[in-house]
Each structure stands twice: as structure tokens, then as C-alpha cells.
Symmetry: C2
Subunit: 449 residues, 2 copies
């Protein structure tokens, strides 16, 4: 099991890049990072010359393993996906002409329902965890389905493959959901959620790799009695909570119709004790100033919507069309540029630095791991990806053996290399991925040793 | 030279997909397309069973070569990029915090100027033609630089590699351009443009693969005297013309200041005889209704902006950040969805079908090739790409040998496979590319024989 493979003390030598703040990247060309047997970063040097010079200064690192990377590569923190639906992966790219509410009925519910078949669930979940790892995602907040066995299987797979995950059995007992795919009663919804929480805590008692997250799908999917019981369960179990909020105007109207006594969509969650500092709210597109204030006061986190500083990026597969957080960085930048064209406010533009911050440190805050992952700091853990860029030779060819989409000609400054990766890179450029110091993915492009 | 390699009559057997109209794709699962020795499509069958059955009906195809593709693949017309800057390829992804006019001074002019060095030009152009071919682009409208030798080299490379191209030496004589990178005089601008036109016509007299295109960079880059002379040259030589128009509001204001006697940006081009049915106008974001009417009356074409039916997609490298037209389809859909969110008009949304039409038949209209390429019709030429999708095995793995980003589970309808390609595909899925029946690119994922 990747998550429990013993590891050696290792020194990683070469360029590294990470976010110093929301607006600033640190690019360190001559870096050296020491990672101990527990996967924890023991030192970060910024002017390292060689393994010899490091080892001569640090006697306890004499026997450390060494990984040196070449000049076309750099270490970057693993990405954090704060919102995605693993069972919907096979539907990625399929929307037809539907909008949110009928898309659920046409594509989503039939697919999710079919994961009562564990053979099918295994095929889809193994594939999706492989995909997200290959894109450098080291931590994921997953929505599973209503099924306890398939949800537990997803947690098992994440633990086995070594990907950090919040894994949530979906709660949905209202008749918005079809009769073939919903919780039978409030009692069964709570009992099944509890069973999945118990399983996840039994396989990883410290919660280092996998943790449970209580997951009411969204307000319209749950009866008020169920929301109340879910709030109580979350408090009793002290777990994370994830749900959707205010993604589009039809949905907001539906919530108004279904919960006539609530002041707002946010108020529905607030009055059912579902807004806590451990709550992740996805989308949050159409919130009123008062709703934003409530969410801020409760300390809840937002996934995906550039409207708060405590936010991260979510791929939202399969509503979103790509599992790569790098692709989602580009989309966030793209949308913000479009908004700034209309508002003529340059300040609305998300910069490359900001997008990368949201993909790492911002996401870490959302999933409660800001002290452990998202940057390269002493005391944090080695959740990292090795990014390699293609170098164009004199004849104009990029190396055959390494087929990334980024072309580096050799004259680019380091900041420009990072920009090229953000705008043209893909999973081919992520040649190795580590979680807690353990390698969880590598490609033929990895040459470290 | 790919463009002149002799070819055999070939029958392509397997699924094909192309645009029937702006809103409708034809998906033919049991297709067979016969391509003759001139690369021209001689027959298209829609219910083909085998090579034997076809050959038994068509005696003159007894000795034809055969290419059969597997069920995870389909033929699609090659993409047409109606607007891109080959010399800016090394700057892809680099904008920093600049806007259009200072981006030109900071990034664009220094890079373009450096292509006076033919070794450097060869490296960049070979690399970019490889890149665009690998993304399935069979026809490109290229801006080169002001240099005659480097522009001619780009045309040579396109001819040699077999990619259809319009290749334009850039005209720019005003002092908006830096003294180190501009035409010395109106006379030298015209003389150099003529020299490049002559070269391109000498290497491909029929214009089957490469054709010249007169390329005033954009109105502010040229003096009125130069624009007049360029209009006269285009008329005398009967060539295509390409330029930029109305990309952002600062630029529109600049044109107003520089050409106080003109009614509009469009009027500047109209009064200098630069709006013809062979003119490609890039961007066209901020046009007045009157300007649109003028462009429509002149029969000029628009690249990139979803505002007319006679338009195609352009990658606009390096202002645009990706050479792939598939990626640009996604961006066009993305922008249109964003617009429709704001206007609440579902009709503003570009569909998958419409984006693919613009990428093929729409683009063909823009470059004057609508009778030859963009679809699979008898009498048209075989400009095609073979798209292969990754199939997920029972254990959840996608085949190692073939590393595309699309996951097909086997239960998807054909329309869904095409959607998955559009939303998740990349150059790995384009495993072979043909122009006029000649293979101009293939990857290890190609298994046809």
C-alpha cells in the first residue's frame, strides 16, 4: 500500500517553485529540500550546490537517498482539488443541451445509481484516482454515491494508492431524486452515513490519508428533517461537511420554493447547523452580500468561485469538463479575463500567481490541511509533483521520448517557464508525484534517481 | 517532400464524423471513403461492410491500398486555423501583466525581429509546423515577420511538410513599431511583399499547398500611403489579405486618433481597398452595426469572433495561448457559455456541433477552400485526422501504449464519444493526419495499415 510504504530520508536537489503569498511565487533555482522518514520536510535550502556540500554540513543526512532533477524540471506542490464527483468521471464532457436540473436526471443519477455494482465502481474509481494523480492532484475532496460499499471502496482505493482524500457518501432523501436512486428515509440516510464514516476511520484512524466528509448533495435533495439530522451527525462526529450552493438562478429559485421560511439559500444551511469552519461550499455564484457575510462569520470555505480569499479550485467533474487542476487554473484565469473585459477593471483579472495559489495553499485551507501541504516549508509534508518541460533542439524537434506540449527554447527566464507550464502544460509534464514522501505516480519522462 | 510524394488509391474503412451543417454533425459508424491518386475523395459509402464487398462492386478499386481503423477511432476533417503568428510560438503562454499595445513592445517585436537569423527561424518554424500538424491542423493562415528570407523559409517548410498554408510577410512602416523592427519605407514594404509573393508562387505555382497572403499587421502599424500601396498590390496580384481589427477598446481609440478622417476602424480598411472577399479580419470584437454591414457587403471573412456565419476559428498564437484548434473550440464554447450566463439567452451558447463546424467548414470558407476541404464529400480532398480514444479496461486502466486523456468505458453512444473528444481530447488523440491523401503526421498510437 503506497500510503504505508516505508520511505528513506531523501534530499531533493534542483529548482523548486511554490506560492509565497496570494500574489507572489517563489522560484528557487538552486534548491534542496530534505524529507525525513515520515515524509516531513526537515530543511529547505535556497543556495544548494551539491549533495556533497549539503551532507558535509548535515551529518545526520549522510545516508540519505538523493534525487537530482535536470534544468528543464522543477518541483511544485501537489494540486488540491476541493470539489469533484468521482462516480461521474465517465460522463466527463457529456452535457448535451441540458441545464443543471435536467442534467442531473439525464446523466448524473443513472450513472451514480449504477455504482451499486462494485465491479463497475472499482473500474471507475481506480481509473479516476489514476487520472487525478497523473494530473498532479495529491489531495481530493470526493463526492461518492449513496452506496456505502462503493463509497468505502473509494476510500480504500485512495488509501491504497496513497492519495489524500475526503470521501463522502452522498445524502439525498427528497423526491427531487428519482425513486431508484435516493435514501429511503432520514434514518437510513443517517445510518448509512455513519457506517461510511466508521469504515473510513477504521482503515485510517489518524486520518492522515483518508477522512470522512458528510455530504448532503444540495438543499433540494434533502428534506428539512434530513438536513437537521445531518447537522447533528456532523457535530457529533466532528467531521467535514460538503455541499453545493447557489450554482445557477433556477436552482436558487427552487430552494426558495422548497424552503419558504428560510431567508436565503445560505440560511437553509445555517439554520440546519451545516455551516461550520469545516464546511466546503461548492460554486457560490449567486450569493447576496448578506449570504457572503454569514459564510464568512461561520468560517465556512468556498470551492471554485473567485469571491473569497479562503477558497480553492475544484474540478467539479463531471459538471466541469476536465479533471486537471492545471486546466482549471487556466479556466479560472480565462473567466476572470472575460469578466474584466466587461467591467473594464483590470483588478478583476486573476493572475497566474493567484491561480497557482488557489490550486495549492488556497485549496489546502479549504480542506483543513494548510499546515501540512500546499507549499514547501519546514514541518510541512512532501506532497509534490515534478514538472518537466520539453526542450526544443536546434532542428526544431522536441524530444521524442518526452511528449509534453510545452516548448522551451532555452532563453526563457524561470518565471516564463512557469507561465508556459500553466498555459500549455498537461499531465505529460507531471512526470512524478509524491504524497507524504511516497511516490504515488510516475511516467516514462521521470529521470530522477 | 510530403506535398509531392506519389500516393496510391486508398480506401479508408471505419467510422467517420464531419459537419453536415452549422448545427448538425454526421456520424457514420460503417463508413468507407475512397481517395484517388490525386488525394481527391472519389466515393463515400455509409453502410460499408468490408473491403471485399466494396472491391467487388468497384472493379477499378481492386488494387487500392486499404486502411481499416478500430472501433475506438474515427476519421474527422483536418482543422483549419484561420489566424496564427508562427514567429510568436516561443512566446506562447507569456503575457506577464501587459495589455495588447505594450505586449507588442515587450514580447512580440523583439521576438519577431530576431527571426532575421535564419537558423533561429528554421528552429522555430519547423517546431511550430510540427506542433500544429500534431494537433490535426491541416491548413493554417500564418503571419510571418517583415523578413523576406524567413517568410520564404516558412513557406518552404509548409510545402515540404505538406501542410496547406497562407503565408504572409508582415507589412509595418509606421513609427508605432520600433526603429529596429519595421519596413524602411513604403517602397521597401511593397518591394519585399512582392518578393515574398513571387517566391511562394514559384515554389507552388498552382497554390495547392502554399499561397501568399498580403499582411498589413493592423492599421496603426501602417502609414496611409502604405495602406494605399498595399491595397493596390493586393488587387494587382489578386491575393488574399489578412489583418487585425478592433481587438480592444484602446486599440479602437488609437485608430480613431491616427485616422481622424475615417468613419471607423472598418472604414480605414474599406477606403484603402483592403476589404475584399479574400480578406481575413482577425478578432472583430468591438464592431458597430454599420461596420458589420460594411464587412458583410464586401464579403470579407472574420477569424475568431462568433459574430458572423462566415467565420472560422484562429488560435492566434501567441496572443492566444494554445496552438490546438480543439482547445480553441473549447475556449469558444466556454466564452459563449459565460456570455449566455450574463444575457440569460440560451441561444448565445455555442454548441459542440457549431464549434466543430467553425473549426472545419467555417474555416475553409475563410481561407477560400470550402470546395476542397472541411468535410468528407465526393470531389473534396482527403485532409483528415484519425482520432483515437482511450479505452478503459476492466481494472480501470487505460492502455499504457496509448496515453490520451479521454477515457471511454464502452457504453458511450457515438455522439458522446465525439463530445468526450471535444472536451477532454488533445494531440495524443490525433494519431495520424493527412493532407491531400498524403500522411503528414503520425504517432505511436496509429495502428492503421
Amino acid at each position: 500500500m503506497a500510503a504505508s510504504t516505508p520511505i528513506s530520508k531523501t534530499i531533493y536537489l534542483g529548482p523548486f517553485v511554490h506560492s509565497k503569498s496570494l500574489t507572489e511565487l517563489e522560484i528557487c533555482e538552486n534548491g534542496a529540500i530534505g524529507v525525513d522518514e515520515n515524509g516531513i520536510i526537515a530543511f529547505v535550502e535556497r543556495d544548494a550546490q551539491s549533495f556533497e556540500s549539503i551532507k558535509s554540513e548535515k551529518s545526520e543526512w549522510q545516508d540519505a537517498k538523493t534525487v537530482k532533477i535536470s534544468g528543464d524540471s522543477f518541483f511544485f506542490p501537489g494540486f488540491i482539488d476541493t470539489h469533484t464527483h468521482a462516480p461521474q468521471h465517465p460522463n466527463t464532457g457529456l452535457f448535451g443541451k441540458t441545464t443543471l436540473l435536467d442534467w442531473l436526471q439525464t446523466y448524473t443519477f443513472p450513472m451514480e445509481s449504477s455504482l451499486s455494482d462494485l465491479t463497475k465502481a472499482n473500474r471507475i474509481y481506480q481509473n479516476f484516482v489514476s487520472r487525478t494523480l497523473s494530473h498532479g492532484t495529491t489531495t481530493c475532496a470526493y463526492y461518492a454515491t449513496i452506496h456505502v460499499p462503493a463509497t468505502n471502496l473509494l476510500a480504500n482505493i485512495c488509501l491504497q494508492r496513497g492519495q489524500r482524500a475526503l470521501v463522502g457518501r452522498v445524502c439525498m432523501d427528497s423526491d427531487l431524486s428519482p425513486s431508484y436512486y435516493r435514501d429511503e428515509s432520514v434514518e437510513s440516510s443517517i445510518k448509512d452515513s455513519k457506517a461510511s464514516i466508521d469504515h473510513i476511520r477504521s482503515i485510517d484512524p489518524s486520518g492522515t490519508i483518508v477522512r470522512p466528509i458528510i455530504t448532503p448533495r444540495f438543499a433540494p435533495s434533502c428534506t428539512p428533517a434530513c438536513l437537521t439530522a445531518i447537522g447533528q451527525l456532523a457535530a457529533a462526529e466532528d467531521t467535514f461537511i460538503q455541499t453545493h450552493i447557489s450554482e445557477n438562478v433556477n436552482e436558487v429559485q427552487l430552494v426558495k420554493d422548497l424552503f419558504p421560511d428560510s431567508k436565503s439559500y445560505t440560511d437553509v444551511y445555517a439554520t440546519h447547523s451545516l455551516l461550520t469552519p469545516k464546511t466546503i461550499l461548492a460554486h457560490a455564484v449567486h450569493l447576496s452580500p448578506e449570504e457572503r457575510k454569514t459564510i464568512l462569520e461561520k468560517g465556512s470555505k468556498i470551492s471554485h468561485c473567485p469571491a473569497s480569499h479562503t477558497l480553492g479550485l475544484g474540478s467539479d467533474v463531471s459538471g466541469g469538463f476536465h479533471p486537471s487542476i492545471l486546466e482549471n487554473c487556466r479556466q479560472a484565469i480565462w473567466v476572470s479575463r472575460h469578466l474584466s473585459l466587461q467591467s473594464a477593471q483590470d483588478s478583476d483579472k486573476l493572475s497566474t500567481e493567484e491561480a497557482l495559489y488557489l490550486a495549492t495553499r488556497g485549496g489546502a485551507q479549504v480542506v483543513g490541511l494548510e499546515d501540512k501541504v500546499g507549499g514547501f516549508e519546514v514541518g510541512m509534508e512532501w506532497d509534490a509533483q515534478l514538472v518537466r518541460l520539453g526542450v526544443v533542439d536546434e532542428a526544431g524537434n522536441t524530444g521524442e521520448a518526452f511528449g509534453g506540449a510545452v516548448d522551451v527554447f532555452g532563453w526563457e527566464a524561470w518565471g516564463e517557464r512557469v507561465e508556459k507550464w500553466v498555459y500549455s502544460g498537461d499531465d505529460r509534464n507531471t512526470v512524478a508525484v509524491w504524497v507524504r514522501g511516497r511516490m504515488v505516480h510516475r511516467t516514462g519522462g521521470y529521470t530522477g534517481a
